[in-house]
């Protein structure tokens, strides 16, 4: 059942108001021009452009006036679904004076007046059981926009139940000529492996129970819509089999499928040999769950691929497992692979590629270079010539430790980039162990003796024993850059990112979990979860994370500021005796600037106020603790001169009410030049736009007790100079 509440008369009136100043603006997608899509004050893609940049050249809001920002309007999303949402990850688009966004627990699409927030229309689709069983729920990260440039403007999004929907941007009505009645069923054509009479076949997944979806935005490049695929989150699988990842492209006008790229190469395709013992047949996932990027001029789409089933154990899928955790470049017109680079071989850590690739033009050693950078959980920006796939700076295969888990065969080497430097930690160095006081440090070092602690990334999980309780890992599941991605200023060649610098855990596969996932249990049938007896019936227990123990005794409960301890069930051997503080030193979260013209770090600063639990810790009484920053997932937006990003956690320091700050940093030196208060932490990436000579910064907030909300900040009208001809 679809519902559309359309108010075309108001919509047209609003459009009429803005059409005067928009006259020179060209909306839509870059289809060959190098002109920035955000040049005219619009924000027509999730990342502003299709290159992952998150950059707008607007500069009305700048270092001199950021502190004067006021709330222009706000949009509460509570009623856009059967229950309120607390985790709004969306970033709106702004085209021709209208903001388009997803919101609410039914992932409604909403159009509002960009100046006032007045609702123009709302569309939502009640998908019943199909949505209830979906792996990627809630409002998602947003939507996409397509135009023919002649007035046919459409909004494109993927529902919770994995349907690609097109709406008339003016009315919110489905486009009847797109797919069937405005939608394409994306579950059709998705396959999984099934052993039939002793032979493996790839068969259609069930349309309701089959596990696939996405909460990312489709990528619209010219007249092509590229759609990704995601499954349930990592580290919860007890079944080796699942839907196989894929990326498909559709004609933006008709919804006709143009091509399909299988992210797990099938028999006869290059790469299939990296799935040993026939494991390609049954293994699932290996999708693309995050944002993709494109080089429209080169006609290339960049796919950041995730890890296969079962994330933390590869005994059922020996081999390098292409295109697991690989950056893959495919042809925009045909979907044919042009090049790929595997960033983690045979991923056992959930290091999968999580942020949008950045398509960047820079000058290196005096030569203009077309490059693509892949930020990730590992804290590296893997950087390549985006046409050939050659690393810009050497990426060296180095030996890494073996696994002692039965049946596992970890890759003997993994790639280590030499440049740019790490923007967040990916292992625990001795110097990074807590040292607020000598006693805390001594206790921390004692705790670490119980763990497999090798000072490098790629150290495999262990099954807990008298020897080790777990493996010290930093920067895997929740580390570095996650779905929020990074950003790039195309005018200066500088890359900026927020990153989680303290996601530490003592990771292990409990014996109980291992006994459920070991090859003997699944061979030979390797059934999918929906084939399990009693699936979805009352009493059926869905696979839980119970096997994944960040700490075998207590879980890797996040501690004060950083990760790894501070709560959880029973004791926590990793943070025992640390008074709830993280075992890893601040900064817990950072903002980093990398100069992509030479691969060096320009600056790095902590981001976020010192968490209350650190500031008020009785163990730190009398000590002066420098600003620690906070761990969390928050994306930045770049204006001409600023890096703007909200705090990932709420705090209540003595000088202001409980809340979180939206902060502005100078792009040149990282100095914080302004901050405004928000009632809750940033939950979705900010964006910026200009309408009628007024620049807005829009950000999604929520979490804890605060239901989700979009907030638009702008300068007081009295502070804004009259628009000039160049400042629309």
């Amino acid at each position: 059942m679809s519902r559309t509440n359309s108010r075309p008369s108001i919509a047209w009136a609003a459009l009429a108001l803005v059409v005067v100043w928009m006259a020179a603006g060209v909306s839509g997608q870059p289809t060959g021009s190098s002109r920035m899509p955000t040049q005219n004050g619009e924000w027509p893609n999730y990342s502003g452009d299709v290159k992952g940049s998150r950059y707008s050249p607007l500069d009305q809001i700048n270092a001199s006036n950021f502190n004067k920002l006021e709330v222009a309007w706000r949009f509460k999303t509570d009623n856009l679904g059967p229950r309120p949402e607390y985790k709004l990850e969306g970033t709106p688009l702004m085209v021709k004076g209208t903001l388009y966004m997803t919101a609410g627990t039914r992932r409604a699409v909403v159009a509002v007046d960009a100046k006032t927030g007045e609702q123009k229309w709302v569309y939502s689709l009640d998908e019943g059981k199909r949505a209830e069983m979906a792996p990627r729920v809630l409002s998602g990260r947003g939507l996409s926009y397509w135009t023919d440039g002649k007035g046919d403007d459409r909004i494109v999004y993927v529902t919770i139940g994995y349907r690609l929907v097109q709406l008339n941007a003016r009315t919110g009505q489905p486009i009847p000529t797109f797919g069937k009645g405005g939608m394409v069923d994306l579950k059709e054509g998705v396959v999984y492996g099934k052993l039939v009479n002793g032979k493996w076949q790839q068969v259609q997944i069930p349309l309701v129970e089959g596990e696939i979806g996405t909460n990312s935005t489709p990528l619209v490049v010219g007249d092509t819509i590229v759609v990704q695929s995601a499954m349930a989150e990592g580290l919860r699988y007890e079944y080796t089999n699942n839907a196989k990842g894929l990326v498909r492209a559709y004609d933006a006008r008709t919804g006709k499928q143009l091509w399909r790229f299988n992210t797990m190469p099938g028999p006869g395709e290059p790469g299939n040999e990296t799935w040993e013992n026939g494991s390609w047949n049954w293994t699932g996932n290996t999708g693309v769950w995050t944002e993709m990027s494109a080089d429209p001029e080169a006609g290339l789409v960049y796919l950041p691929v995730e890890s296969p089933t079962i994330d933390a154990y590869g005994g059922n899928r020996l081999g390098n497992n292409l295109y697991d955790s690989s950056l893959v470049a495919v042809d925009l017109k045909t979907g044919k692979r042009k090049w790929h680079f595997q960033i983690t071989h045979h991923d056992l850590w959930d290091y999968d590629l999580a942020g949008a690739p950045l398509v960047m033009d820079v000058t290196i050693d005096g030569k203009p270079r077309k490059i693509v950078g892949q930020p990730g959980k590992l804290g590296w920006l893997h950087t390549f010539d985006r046409i050939t796939g050659e690393p810009i700076w050497p990426i060296v295969e180095k030996p890494v430790p073996p696994s002692d888990v039965p049946g596992e065969n970890a890759s003997p080497t993994q790639p280590f980039p030499t440049k740019p430097p790490l923007f967040s930690r990916n292992y625990l160095a001795p110097d990074d162990v807590i040292d607020f006081t000598p006693a805390l440090r001594a206790k921390a070092m004692e705790n670490l003796k119980k763990y497999r602690w090798e000072q490098m990334p790629f150290v495999p999980y262990v099954i807990p024993s008298d020897k080790w309780l777990g493996t010290i890992l930093v920067g895997n599941t929740m580390g570095g850059v996650n779905w929020e991605g990074s950003s790039f200023n195309p005018e200066t060649g500088i890359f900026y990112t927020q990153a989680n610098n303290s996601a530490i855990s003592g990771a292990s596969l409990s014996q109980e979990y291992f006994d459920k996932i070991k090859p003997e249990v699944h061979t030979p049938n390797h059934i999918a979860i929906w084939e399990a007896p009693g699936f979805a019936q009352p009493g059926f227990e869905a696979p839980s994370t119970s096997g994944y123990r960040a700490n075998p005794v207590a879980g890797g409960a996040p501690a004060a500021g950083g990760g790894g301890g501070g709560g959880g069930r029973g004791g926590n051997a990793l943070t025992e005796g640390l008074g709830g503080l993280s075992i890893i030193k601040p900064p817990y979260g950072v903002i980093t600037a990398l100069d992509m013209n030479n691969g060096t770090m320009k600056w790095q600063v902590p981001h976020g106020d010192t968490p209350d639990a650190v500031r008020n810790s009785p163990l730190l009484k009398g000590l002066t603790i420098p600003k620690t920053g906070q761990q969390g997932i928050v994306g930045v937006v770049l204006t001409k001169s600023l890096v703007v990003v909200g705090d990932p956690q709420v705090t209540a320091p003595p000088d202001r009410p409980r809340g979180a700050m939206l902060r502005a940093y100078d792009q040149q030196d990282g100095k914080e030049v302004g901050a405004v208060w928000m009632p809750a932490a940033q939950s979705g990436n900010p964006m910026t736009y200009m309408v009628d000579g007024r620049q807005y910064i829009m950000v999604a907030v929520g979490g804890g007790v605060y239901t989700s909300e979009y907030i638009a900040f702008a300068l007081p009208r009295s502070d804004i100079a009259k628009p000039t001809s160049t400042q629309r």
Binding site: P82, S544, G567
Partner: protein, 144 residues
């Protein structure tokens, strides 16, 4: 309902509400540090947590990619200064995703008790009540 039974019902309700208010008044303001749940209740809640919550939030509430952590400083900061009713109502009205409202009030109270235990608040002699109005009398204070 006849008018006489309605009057009786109103009288009984009135007595019950007054009694409740007296009880709450006598208790004064309590906090999560005052032993507001029992060990047995938290154990019941932990078993429920395993079944209903751990899939997304992790066995110890450490959080996953999509589901936030239910322990640690970021979690505490959200509820610090609020009351346990906010936490209970959040559980009651929005969780578990897809099964909102399907757990009983008692089950929600037990899960809330388990979450207090995960966050190292001490158990006591009386169970956490299962009515959010009563839980409004218990402050959530992150640090003692």
């Amino acid at each position: 309902m006849t008018s006489s039974t309605a009057r009786v019902a109103a009288f009984i309700t009135g007595v019950a509400v007054s009694g409740l208010l007296c009880t709450l008044g006598a208790q004064g303001t309590r906090s999560v540090w005052d032993g507001v749940y029992t060990e047995a209740q938290a154990n019941r809640g932990a078993a429920l947590f395993d079944r209903e919550c751990a899939q997304c939030h992790g066995p110890a509430g450490e959080g996953g990619g999509m589901a936030p952590a239910l322990v640690g400083s970021a979690f505490s900061a959200n509820y610090d200064g609020q009351t346990v009713a906010e936490l209970f109502d959040r559980n009651r009205t929005t969780m578990p995703v897809g099964k909102e409202g399907q757990l009983s009030a008692q089950q929600n109270a037990d899960i809330t008790a388990a979450m207090l235990q995960f966050n190292k608040f001490p158990p006591g002699a009386t169970e956490l009540p299962s009515q959010s109005m009563m839980l409004r009398q218990i402050k959530y204070i992150a640090e003692r």
